[in-house]
Symmetry: D2
Subunit: 342 residues, 4 copies
């Protein structure tokens, strides 16, 4: 960490910072220039993380020179990107993965019909929400335990591994019985209780970026899981909140190359929620795959206009195989080895 | 809800929307203009909340004409702002409340020293975090149960009611033994599990606005608590995330008059986290009070430079009485009846 | 325009709005519901644009039901996208166009070397800035007239049409002598003087989206040019300002399908300025092309590390032919007919 | 400027940066740590401003350690805030200034009536727009020269100095005949042509912050004017663009203490455009004054409901004297010496 002192900072102020740095066991290197003094604080990441010097008397600003995350960093893996195995399907490195299914588990029929189409089209994982975080307490909140049961049935019938969301640590045991990947939604990206518990469970986790979270904060959320010894973390870009109101969220596709450079963890993109419109899901899926994403998580429904929630953004299941072929062609452009189909 | 159809929308598309509206028990009024057709959907708030028509074929856009919240609305209370009583101290209407204390409970001495100064200065409530949500898993996470015990001791000595944060529903019972007001942090504003549980507890709640949450979403979070029968909700503006990087967060003071117009709930402002700098806390506190806030929640520490976390933004306890007098003068300008002191 | 009145709005307030609507020659349709009243204002776009009723007594909110732009709309062209011809090269519809060149015209050698590589690689247009808008008055401001002269020489040698920026209406004549397309930079997107003058000049225009401008405002900027009778307008997405600081600007690729749905004008993407880093330019270019952009405008330099400005984001000219082939493959995925090369 | 190299950056990469730094006449100080190398570039501000090293091979990131502005800085004036004299009225230091008038000059009667009320209430300057930047080419664009004539008449009758906007450098001469302060609107904050020309004119300038401009960029805009020898610059906060849609723009009042710390220039706040609603103008004006603003620029109209533009946000002239008294009381709280009235 570099601490840049203000022009005219006094010797006492510099000394106070040095003392503060040393109090956490780090070393301070003081460079005195003509105009200003810069102090470098070198030491253990965990100690330095507890130094909060921005705003101290005489301090102009503080700039980190090491990343605040460690286990999530690409350097920690010596530059090699992780490949995760989810029930025999792989993601990361050269492996592109498509995760598809209805927004919410709403009925046995819809769940099983969708699962069959997802399976036949050649997608790798099946998604569906049993617990739904909703802005309004008056909106449908998901089928809960009954939804988990239907996911289990779909899994048994198709053999597809399941991705489903966990919202409450007290449901972890029930969710863990069905889920091959536990999804943490955007609103829970900084729910440290959930991150820690899911880290301890050892079950693969898909973490959605919070709608106002920085890319670095997304990696810090992963760090909470990794720190508990759970190495199977997938990061998901799903749109950030900006001033633009022509769509629901601004899909931040530049996050893909940035994350690829900084972390070894696989990165998937959810185009459905950001678009909010079926028409825009295909172009954004192609864009995500072409930009180098390791996968797509997308909403599909046999009859979206009858869906309980988010109907307009769900792809029509009928067209899904064609959609998938196009997305895989885009992934191939970015160097992914997509499965050959007959 | 008004559904505005695209120019050239077909009769079938209009009929499909009408059918969708009627399927949830609402009534559809179709107005056909020369260029376009507009459909009004009138019905029960809970039913209409489940209608998601944006993006349907032929639909240009959908615009709500009723607010999605009900119990939080000023209209629900017929235009009268709520006055809450917290252990004999009042907030709302003419009553201005100051909540002060250290960022985190870090030691018995700091906690008790601060409590005494807060008490003597005439502030109404004492704050202090036992559980701290931290971006980094390597940062200090709070004293937990030991922190709660110290808060209890400070309460007993000073008689000041306590505000403290809850992060995990499983800690509710322990927190409830000490807290007169349970704080839900910005990262948990949309943690529906916590909102519901705290709603059921009946204990007064202070909800901090999420850093990318709209003012309406803040009211929807309150609605989750109110729906469980807990009427004691305080809303807190603490800064939103924008492109500006000269400070930590953009304090959105216009939220005060907006909330005053739309909800009966009291509104307080936390200037410490947005500023991140002690120097900027006083001007922003004066601004918040002058804009009509019902209170301020502010961080104070006997020796901020030695604080474990957020030292630079904490006011120096010594100067707190003078700070408080100035803030109360600003509140008086906005029509608040602040307590006279001798 | 729909004017939604507040619950409890008085008859006088409704009458006042009706009178206001009629005062501009529009017609008011009043729909009285149980809870609230909605007034539809139907009339000439230009008249209704001058109605500013948001915030009037009794008005809850106002929602437009017609778009504020007309000549830029896809409907105005009956759903057909425009194809522009720039010195024999086409953009729009099936035609994908690559515009490349150095950030700024800095010397004869660099300009001519780059021009040759751009020409040989098969790109369609040559870009280069003679006038540079700079945040700092102490930064290099461009070569001005001398830069225009070098662009002219590059044009003569390669036959490539030229894209260059205009910042001051008083330079229009000089720029018009060289430019086949006049570029208006992001900072000038709402410089109505420039928009109008360039509209009158009849020269094709490339308008960059302002970094906090909505997609609709971008189309309104185009409307200023179209209104003067100049039909050759290209829109350019180049990144918007958000809270994310891992890169320079957030490239808003969802703007592409949104614009394709709403306007007939061609849309290009500038990945260089948003990325700020050469490494990220290729993935974002592929993403833009796969999302359906009509072209790319990108910075190329024979020796970027020696460039006067924005070196790190400029592609190395040597690798440009390979870059271009990949981008064209992505464009082909999105349905573009890219030129075959031997 | 500190250049932080990546872990594992090669000696060649470090040498290349050092060479680049020295090529502009600056000095490079290399500090080699265990994990990484940091290079300090020290030299002339103008030279260093042209170094653009972010994104160079081996560079992790670059962090400025000196401010990019000089003439605008508080240090340049040795910590003393400027006091400007505008036709005998002062702003800055202890002097609080209110600038009021209609949004646009729309008729002789409205202009003169407003001017009289502004004068009688004790405000210091009269504002009114003859040239209006409008998002839509179909909206009223101002009376132009006729508007200037009416401003001249109002000035002669009341003796109030005039603030009016300049949009086109070609109108400078005409505007300069009437204006005591030339206003540059938010859309023109980075119109470097205008900034330079107005700088040369020597006439006092009020620069509105662009809606996505940082506080630092606002100071850089001032630097363009100051560099031409014009020392009379007033900065204006008028709201920034964020995701919140409950009002028009987010008024960034924290900009006030930030600017007070960094620049000697006076800072005023325009609450009218951000609020978009008359009701919210008073609380935000009080907040701005309490936060330490040097003045307010506010819209007033004798009959806002009949105004040609922005009627709903304009204060009713009748209530203006009372409004002004309240704002001055808030300014007094922040230490301003407001004029005593009988």
């Amino acid at each position: 960490m570099m601490i840049v002192m203000k022009e005219g900072a006094s010797q006492e102020q510099v000394d106070a910072i040095v003392a503060k740095v040393e109090s956490v066991g780090a070393t301070a290197h003081v460079s005195r220039g003509e105009l200003m003094t810069v102090i470098g604080a070198i030491g253990d990441r965990e100690h330095v993380a507890n130094l909060e010097l921005d705003g101290y008397p005489g301090v102009d600003h503080v700039t980190p020179i090491t990343k605040p995350y460690k286990l999530a960093s690409l350097q920690f893996r010596k530059g090699r990107h992780s490949v995760l195995d989810i029930g025999g399907r792989r993601i990361g490195g050269e492996h592109f993965m498509t995760i598809a299914g209805p927004c919410t588990v709403e009925s046995r029929e819809v769940m099983l019909d969708t699962a069959r189409i997802v399976k036949e089209s050649g997608a790798q994982l099946l998604r569906g929400g049993a617990y739904k975080p909703r802005t309004s307490p008056y909106s449908f909140q998901g089928l809960g335990g009954e939804g988990l049961r239907l996911l289990q049935e779909a899994k048994e019938e198709t053999g597809l591994p399941i991705v489903t969301e966990l919202m409450d640590a007290r449901d972890l045991e029930a969710v863990a019985e069905v889920a091959d990947v536990i999804q943490l939604g955007a609103r829970n990206m900084q729910n440290y209780t959930l991150l820690t518990e899911v880290g301890r469970s050892g079950i693969p986790v898909l973490i959605k970026r919070g709608l106002s979270s920085t890319i670095e904060e997304l990696m810090m959320a992963a760090e909470y899981v990794l720190k508990e010894g759970n190495e199977s973390v997938i990061l998901c870009e799903r749109g950030i909140r900006t001033f633009e109101s022509a769509y629901r969220f601004t899909l931040d596709l530049m996050a893909i190359p940035v994350l690829k450079e900084q972390t070894h963890l696989p990165v998937v993109v959810d185009p459905s929620h950001a678009a909010g419109r079926r028409d825009w899901v295909l172009p954004m899926s192609l864009a995500a795959a072409a930009a180098g994403a390791d996968g797509i998580i997308v909403e599909v429904h046999p009859e979206p206009d009858a869906a309980i929630c988010d109907g307009p953004q769900q792809l029509v299941a009928e067209g899904f195989p064609d959609y998938l072929r196009q997305v895989e062609a885009a992934a191939a452009l970015a160097g992914k080895a997509v499965p050959s189909r007959v």
